[in-house]
Amino acid sequence: MAIPSDPKQVKQICFDRINIPDVNRLAVARKHGAYEFLPTVLSEFDSARIIDEVKTSGLRGRGGAGFPTGLKWSFVPRNTGKPTYLLCNADEGEPGTFKDRDIMRFDPHLLIEGMIMAGFALGVHDAYIYVRGEFLHEVNVLNAAIAEAYEANLLGENILGSGYGMHLTVHRGAGAYICGEETALIESLEGKPGRPRFKPPFPAVEGFYRSPTVVNNVETLATVPAILKFGGDWHAAIGIPNNTGCKIFSVSGHVNKAGNYEVPMGTSLKTLIEEHCGGLQHGSAPKVVIPGGSSTPWLTAEHYDTPLTYDDMMKAGSMLGSGAIIVMDETADVVAMSRRLAHFYAHESCGQCTPCREGTGWLERVMTRVENGQGTEEDMSVLSEAATHMAGRTICALADGAAAPILSMLQHFPEEVRARLLEKAA
């Protein structure tokens, strides 16, 4: 199924070709529309027009923060005398997220095409895809696809005779969640430990090797070809205003059919879980839903009907994040979950900020005691204060992510925690 010529039929953007066998191979992908519109873009579009279309489309970054992509691109200063770089964030480390992997392993040419278009718009001649180290298979698939693209003069010098040239390199990480944070990713790509930089300066101005740099998520870049092909207005008409287009949701946990689902923004959480994911394993309503990856605050059954948009999730007290929905049914042990996530952040903190370096370890150790029934009443306030004063006081948002599960647990399930404290006495 190629992208249909009548754009109104499009239901999926990034996953449109995903079920086509061998679409990772250039010939197959081309048969289904890949790179079809690229010559037009290279010959008829200019930078301003592309950025305008993307602005019009309302596309917001799919990596977690939801920052408007067109706006981000427009911040890149021109004629600085330095090169501009485009980095694709394929570090996909946020617990619960597994969408970028599917784009890369099944339809790598979609991402490559998106990067060529973005690179052309931004005047980039060297672009990199930073893939998390564990995704060795995806790295191999991407490298094979890139080799084919070079062969077909879709990459390299003078792409398709347009005069524009771009080189694309896959860079493999080595096991550090923090490298998904864009400035840590830049440090890592420079061959250093992935420790986030403070901002300002922002990467758009001083990023990779202190040059202007755009970092975008895989899904964000994979959306670009459709936007340019069908127009920004077309994209803006999908979903609801300020939350346009489709979004891939990675659903995991206690659902019957876990997996990635690309649906228009605004679809409700309940619809997604009940209709697409075959409902919960136990019970009828979830005990907890983490809507945007483990770093986002928890929602409970009360918010089951919330539409999946950036704004609605914010209103409900959480965030859409990367669209990684972790569902817990009534059998879930929230203390164990909180402890497990505390362990994750304590393991992944880069270590530079005092509150995060010391606080994440502290939270994990206290949670371990609490989970084992060796907690004290004071632990409740220690957890609450130690988490509260990490969030928003550090260089990057990892500390906020670390605080979220603890604070959510204390907010929604204080009695369950307290009951755990008493176990020791029993």
């Binding site: 997220t97 998390r132 995704f135 080595a174 946990g253 876990a258 497990r340």
Partner: protein, 175 residues
């Protein structure tokens, strides 16, 4: 450095050295980045692939190849969990126990595997064949629980499928 020490070429041969093909590959790789330091992580991956783990000598060798200081290499090796400073078993079984996998029985799975292999998490079997570790979210929660075997993903793993896999590896011998 003392001038007398300059001439010695001894015992270089015993230490790990990249093959000529690797060196050519590295040379090409370095050209893809604005600075050779960017090639550090890819080159460490190569070294680990070639030599099994990253000993101090190997790290020094990588530093020399890229014109970096040893400290720059050490910082990177110790920061990233996939770089190993110690050897591990021929089969590295990495079980994700993060949220999605935990909700689908990962803790029980890893306990089962440890019992089968009679080791604790993080240990290697005495025959040097298997190492079991717990890892953070593997980015494949849709197929939870996930076990990576030498970096190949096994999704929806069960105690039975793991037993079968272990038996298969044993039959294949440690290669």
């Amino acid at each position: 450095m003392s001038a007398d020490a300059v001439v010695s070429e001894t015992d270089r041969s015993e230490k790990n050295r990249f093959s000529d093909e690797r060196l050519a590959e590295i040379e090409a790789l370095v050209k893809r980045y604005p600075s050779a330091q960017s090639a550090l992580m890819p080159v460490l991956h190569m070294a680990q692939e070639d030599f099994g783990y990253l000993s101090m000598d190997t790290q020094q060798m990588v530093a020399d190849v890229l014109g970096l200081r040893l400290m720059q290499v050490r910082e990177v090796v110790t920061f990233y969990t996939m770089f190993r400073e110690q050897p591990c078993g021929s089969y590295l079984l990495e079980v994700c126990t993060n949220a999605g996998c935990m909700l689908n029985g990962a803790n029980e799975l890893v306990a089962h595997m440890c019992k089968t292999l009679q080791i604790n998490i993080g240990e290697t079997t005495p025959d040097g064949m298997f190492t079991v570790t717990e890892v953070e979210c593997a980015g494949a929660c849709g197929g939870a629980p996930v076990v990576q075997v030498n970096n190949v993903y096994h999704e929806k793993a069960t105690p039975e499928s793991m037993d079968a896999l272990i038996a298969e590896c044993r039959a294949a011998g440690g290669q």
